[in-house]
């Protein structure tokens, strides 16, 4: 046994362990990406760096053995900055989108590619559940949304965007046609009450999300029926009455209490604050004014992200803060404010919807479009008239046009998680001319995207240990090194036994299950 100092604390440790093993045994959080337990050490990513203070240098903790008298610091400013810089260097050579551009462009960040995949597989109900994670009124939006997602769709550069809006409409309508509509999971009531002023898309959405978190919601509206601008400003032909009513009914069944024909007056906020734990103003473009709240050119002044006004108990969303009647934005605000209110009432820092790190590389070049098309049906976009939706067959065909621009491992990618944790900024070192994205499908059942690879060598080690006939190896050296199949052959599958294993252990989305 030898003695070392770990973050100032003296401990006795066995001499044949690495700094990483000791640190983790002490409960410290050390990130690793190229480390594969039980395999040869190959210090490459350097994200596990810690400081050897007695020598004044940074060392890779995964490979360095403890030595007598070592003073290890795992989390000071220099170490954190080193990890962040290392991640930024890796990100500068990482060409891949975590989220597809359609999802990033959606104000509610709906997981569109996943919805498309489920629809293509003939699972509309499951698709709907994905939709309803982020969108409160999908059937409504499927008819009136301006579809910013479609504007960002990469398929546009090939022929036309995927008809995302109509696909969503199908999923939503399919659910509304069922005997019982989908009900999201609800948390137990937490005893708190929120007053929502306005039953337009913003207010309805806020209620939908707050109810899920266990808050009781009372919605006030001066009108006799709920719906706000959806009801009163959109022609029936575009948005049939029954569609809107059915969606509102779902929210009512979740426990929302509607106080209709009840106008909240200019000076009523103080009274409301005594009865409710928080207030959400969703009065739309109604010229409503409230004492105690600032208004600038007909818009309430509230934080752009958290929607909190200068009065911490009062939040404002939708067209009431950003005039324009963009339903999807109002609906997105509803989701966000639910998070803010929840943070506020639990004494947490109010930050609204936190967007996790998202890798983005921009427009696809021509040959890249061809790569992406390998997974998509080349058929042209199906158009329907007006608000008419798709048939089942039409829906499936359209869903198969999706090019799957998202990363299949966006929810379990170490590079993404650590970049998020350390606040890495992708464009810091990103070159002006980037590498071209490739998708290699020959290693069934996984897909290999070399431009996401961080050259950690985990797959090389795995294929070698399992004695694959060909396996994967490093080809070339230095910055241009690539992981590839020796004697690269277009058709041969080099990962007969280890494909899934490699995909599971790959720390990024370079190797992923299809």
């Amino acid at each position: 046994m030898i003695s070392i100092s770990l973050n100032g604390k003296k401990i006795e440790v066995p001499s044949d362990k690495t700094v990483l093993e000791i640190s983790r045994a002490e409960g410290l959080n050390i990130p690793t990406m190229c480390h594969l337990k039980g395999h040869d050490l190959f210090p490459s990513c350097m994200v596990c760096v810690v400081k050897e203070n007695n020598k004044g240098r940074l060392i890779p903790s995964c490979t360095t053995l403890v030595q007598n008298g070592m003073e290890i610091i795992t989390d000071d400013e220099e170490v954190l900055e080193a990890r962040k810089t290392g991640l930024e260097l890796l990100l500068s050579d990482h060409v891949g989108d975590c989220e597809a551009p359609c999802q990033t462009n959606c104000p509610a960040y709906m997981d569109i590619p996943l919805m498309n995949r489920l629809l293509a597989e003939g699972k509309p109900q499951e698709a709907l559940e994905i939709v309803k994670r982020d969108i409160a009124l999908p059937a409504v939006l499927g008819r009136i949304c301006p579809a910013p997602c479609e504007r960002a769709c990469h398929r546009r550069s090939v022929d036309s965007a995927v008809s995302i809006c109509k696909l969503k409409q199908f999923a939503a309508d399919h659910d509304l046609d069922q005997k019982e509509q989908f009900m999201p999971d609800m948390a137990e009531s937490n005893g708190r009450k929120i007053a929502i002023i306005g039953t337009g898309p913003a207010g309805l959405s806020a209620a939908y999300f707050l109810l899920q978190k266990g808050y009781a919601c009372e919605l006030f509206d001066k009108n006799p029926v709920p719906g706000g601008a959806l009801k009163y400003a959109i022609p029936n032909k575009k948005l049939p009455k029954d569609v809107l009513d059915k969606e509102i009914l779902v929210i009512a069944r979740m426990g929302a209490i509607f106080k209709l024909k009840k106008e909240v007056g200019k000076d009523d906020l103080e009274a409301l604050k005594k009865k409710f734990d928080a207030l959400v103003i969703a009065t739309g473009e109604d010229n409503a004014v409230f004492t105690g709240l600032d208004k600038r050119s007909n818009a309430f002044v509230a934080d752009r992200n958290t929607h909190q006004t200068k009065d911490p108990e009062v939040f404002a969303i939708g067209s009431a803060v950003k005039p324009g009647r963009v339903a999807i934005r109002a609906v997105a605000h509803g989701k966000q404010v639910a998070l803010s209110v929840d943070q506020y009432l639990n004494n947490k820092p109010v930050i609204g919807e936190r967007r996790i790190f998202n890798s983005r590389f921009g427009r696809l070049l021509n040959d890249e479009l061809m790569e992406y098309m390998l997974e998509a049906d080349p058929v042209k976009r199906h158009e329907t008239e007006g608000s008419k939706g798709f048939s089942y067959k039409e829906m499936q065909k359209e869903a198969e046009r999706c090019m799957h621009c998202d990363c299949r491992k966006q929810h379990n990618c170490k590079l993404r998680d650590y970049s998020d944790e350390y606040g890495a900024i992708q464009k810091r070192f990103f070159p002006r001319e980037r590498k071209s994205v490739r998708k290699i499908f020959k290693h069934e059942p996984i897909v290999y995207e070399p431009e996401k690879c961080i050259k950690c060598g985990i797959c090389v080690r795995i294929t070698s240990e399992h004695k694959e006939k060909l396996g994967l190896t490093f080809i070339g050296k230095g910055f241009d090194v690539e992981v590839a199949v020796p004697f690269d052959n277009e058709t041969v599958n080099a990962l007969e036994k280890t494909a899934i294993l490699c995909a599971e252990n790959c720390p990024t989305g370079a190797l992923a299950k299809k």
């Binding site: 210090p43 290392g86 260097l89 890796l90 070192f429 050259k455 994967l472 490093f474 050296k477």
Partner: protein, 779 residues
């Protein structure tokens, strides 16, 4: 298509993993590249797997996976060649061979063009090699002539003449000719042929001796006349046509008939060649003459003892001059701990640049308990601008072997390796021959000198990877792996080749060991400083009058080296800086010329001893370009294993490229500095840790040049993307520039003001140099 018996090769080299590089080298030698089907066959019949063979074949630059032309033209891009315009020479070859973008082989498949790392002939910069022939001083106007000369020799192979160096009694004297690689490249082979012819035709009875490097590379070809009983006279810049007259001056042909014959012969030659020649005196170099004595005076030959005197492969001569005495002392009189102690006491530190106490390293290896121990001579001299180890291996092979035997004895090593880089074929040849002779004499092998100490050495040829100069990467390549460095500790001294204790020392370090034992510790410690004892060999090159290989005591100042030994900056220009330590080192600005050359002092000023490359830079050199040059070298040689080196050096280079093309911003300088710091801190091995040094040191001393580039100006005009060549109105229309332009960017308009087509201009500076009226400006 050439044939190769693969089974035979495998039988020779072995079927284990570690045979992969030697096997690939044989294949590459035969076909000039590695055909895939042959590689597959190797995998089928050995333990080498496809992932291994391709991983290795694609790592080392010696190996080609695509067929190349019949002949390979290699343009050296070492430091000295770079500052003398290697990039322009490379471009000139691309034009001459009409190579389309992205392709490196001409249409007929006759020539392939490559840029190569330093060939080690720096004083002849720019250097070009075609197959095995080296050409020096190749300017852009010479590119076609070089190809012509090569093709001429191809079609007219001259047979090798036997040497007339017999040791006959009553000989009249000795003639020595330097035949190191540089000498050969500058034409010494032709001089040697003339010499042989002249000796024969004059009927002389002289000992003709090939000697190793004299170090005065700026004077090659060198010939030394030593008539019996007389003072030796040295001749420099000898041309083949001069030889006969030089010989006649010192050696008289014997009989009357021979004298007549020789005069007639001369007459015939003169008539035939119309040779107008104005006398011999001009080329004579008296050792007492100032320039020679200045060059040689301050030097202290230890690694290069008896320079210019010994025939590299003459073992008798080596012995007579004191060779192998140290080895005998050790094996017969000292025990291993005593040997180690002497090395420790001498204070000698690693001459490869690391500067670690050699004796300490020996002690660590000695103290390891293991059945097998290895000793490796690191001859993978990869620093561009460094050619010391090449010279030592070519000229003093026995000395290095002796050092290794002593080291093996002291540490208990049982097996040794010479690791010599691929680009030094002559060194490999000499060492191979020397090893053979040593074995014949019982200096290697079982029971050396009749003691119970047995030890032998193999040769491993590097396959082209700068990183393999790093000891753990070097060991990895001998094991048959990609040259990935390993984290230290554990150090190779404890756990090295195949896990056994391994002593890795630089060539020059081994070359100094015998002297320490033979002459005693105090002789060695007499030279040098408190912490840096002894001497160091440097390769002085660049913008200096007298370039060459020098061995000087540690502690000598840079000023003394450049001015006294080197004769000052060439061409009447001003000294700007001296780059020391190669791509791991830094620049020492002209106002710090009194800095002593020792490990600590150099580190203090932001440079590094390195392996010994010393490049002199003048006021026409752009320091930002120099930084970029070194960084692009290390960046391209990165093994790619760790993030900070693989991506860090690349992003640093991106920033430098931006700056050198006029697209930089002030933020870029900040980010460059920042990233340099992180690359230093976060890299796994010496390559990444020292790659930022040239950048950091030029930023420290020449920040104004960086800022000038940010503001759109390259002060020296060297950064081609930032300058425009322009002919002023004062042009007299002499058309010299138009005639000279290699890309026809100047229209031929006699008596009118000429103008440069900016689209075509390659900024070669040719027009400005030939203009008699000085009307070409650079902005």
């Amino acid at each position: 298509m050439a044939e190769l018996n693969i089974e035979q090769v495998i039988k020779e080299k072995g079927r284990e993993k570690k045979a992969v590089i030697p096997i690939l080298q044989v294949i590459q030698n035969k076909f000039n590249y590695l055909p895939e089907d042959i590689l597959r066959r190797v995998c089928e019949t050995t333990d080498i797997t496809p992932d291994l063979i391709m991983g290795v074949a694609s790592f080392y630059t010696q190996f080609r996976l695509e067929p190349a032309g019949d002949h390979i033209i290699k343009v050296c891009t070492g430091t000295a060649c770079h500052v003398k315009g290697a990039e322009l020479v490379y471009d000139a070859y691309r034009r001459s061979l009409k190579l389309p973008d992205g392709k490196n082989t001409d249409e007929k498949g006759k020539y392939s063009l490559e840029k190569v790392n330093c060939l080690g002939c720096c004083t002849l910069a720019p250097v070009v090699q075609i197959d095995d022939t080296t050409y020096g001083h190749v300017g852009i106007e010479d590119v076609d002539q070089v190809i012509g000369s090569f093709e001429h020799d191809l079609n007219n192979p001259s047979g090798k003449r036997g040497s007339t160096g017999d040791n006959i009694d009553g000989r009249e004297g000795e003639i020595r000719i330097g035949l190191g690689s540089c000498c050969v490249a500058s034409g010494s082979e032709e001089v040697k042929k003339s010499l042989e012819k002249a000796v024969v035709s004059n009927g002389l009875n002289v000992n003709m001796k090939k000697v190793g490097c004299v170090g005065m590379c700026h004077q090659v070809p060198l010939l030394e006349m030593i008539p019996s009983g007389k003072e030796p006279v040295l001749y420099a810049h000898v041309k083949p046509g001069d030889v006969n007259a030089i010989i006649k001056k010192h050696f008289k042909p014997r009989g009357l008939w021979d004298r007549l014959k020789s005069s007639l012969f001369e007459l015939a030659e003169d008539i035939q060649t119309d040779h107008n020649w104005d006398g011999v005196e001009r080329f004579e170099l008296n050792v007492r003459e100032k320039q020679v004595s200045s060059f040689l005076g301050r030097q202290v030959p230890i690694a290069t003892e008896h320079r210019g005197v010994l025939d590299p492969l003459d073992v008798e001569e080596y012995q007579q001059s004191g060779g192998f005495r140290a080895m005998k002392i050790c094996l017969n009189e000292l025990d291993p701990p005593e040997v180690v102690q002497r090395v420790i006491d001498s204070g000698i530190r690693g001459r490869g640049g690391g500067g670690f106490s050699t004796g300490e390293k020996w002690r660590i290896v000695k103290d390891q308990v293991s059945e097998r121990k290895f000793i490796i001579c690191n001859g993978d001299e990869g620093d561009p601008g460094a050619f010391m180890d090449r010279m030592i291996l070519e000229s003093y092979p026995y000395r290095v072997i002796e050092g290794m035997v002593i080291g093996a004895y002291a540490t208990g090593a049982t097996e040794g390796y010479f690791y010599i880089r691929a680009e030094y074929p002559l060194a490999v040849q000499r060492i191979r021959e020397a090893l053979k002779i040593c074995r014949e004499r019982g200096y290697l092998g079982k029971n050396i000198l009749g003691t119970d100490f047995s030890f032998d050495i193999k040769i491993f040829e590097g396959a082209g990877a700068f990183i393999c100069g790093e000891e753990t990467a070097l060991i990895a390549s001998i094991e048959g792996n990609r040259g990935f460095p390993k984290l230290r500790p554990p150090f190779p001294a404890e756990k090295g080749l195949w896990g056994h204790p391994t002593l890795v020392n630089n060539t020059e370090t081994f070359a100094q060991i015998a002297y320490i034992i033979k002459n005693g510790v105090f002789e060695f410690t007499n030279h040098g400083t408190q912490l840096s004892k002894g001497t160091k060999v440097f390769a002085l090159a660049g913008k200096v009058n007298r370039g060459g290989l020098i061995e000087v005591p540690m502690g000598i100042s840079i000023r003394e080296i450049v001015e006294d030994i080197g004769g000052g900056v060439s061409g009447d220009r001003e000294l700007k800086a001296v780059q020391i330590g190669g791509p791991s080192g830094g620049c020492i600005p002209h106002w710090l010329m009194d800095t002593p050359v020792d490990f600590e002092s150099l580190e203090e000023v932001g440079a590094m001893m390195g392996s010994g490359g010393l490049v002199v830079l003048d006021d026409t050199d752009c320091m930002v370009d120099i930084a970029r040059y070194f960084l692009s070298f290390t960046q391209s040689e990165s093994c790619g294993k760790c993030t900070f080196c693989r991506v860090g050096t690349k992003r640093m280079l991106d920033i430098l490229n931006k700056i050198c093309t006029g697209k930089g911003s002030p933020k870029d300088i900040e980010e460059l500095e920042n990233l340099s710091g992180w690359t230093k801190k976060g890299s796994l091995c010496g390559l990444g840790k020292t790659a930022p040094n040239p950048v950091l040191s030029t930023l420290r001393y020449f920040r104004d040049e960086y800022e000038a580039h940010i503001h759109g100006k390259c002060p020296t005009g060297k950064c081609r993307d930032m300058v425009k060549y322009h002919i002023e109105e004062t042009c007299i229309g002499c058309t010299k520039c138009a005639q000279n332009c290699p890309v026809d960017a100047i229209a031929f308009t006699p008596y009118e003001v000429h103008s440069i087509d900016q689209e075509k201009c390659i900024k070669c500076d040719g027009c400005r140099q030939v203009c008699p009226e000085d009307c070409v400006t650079v902005s």
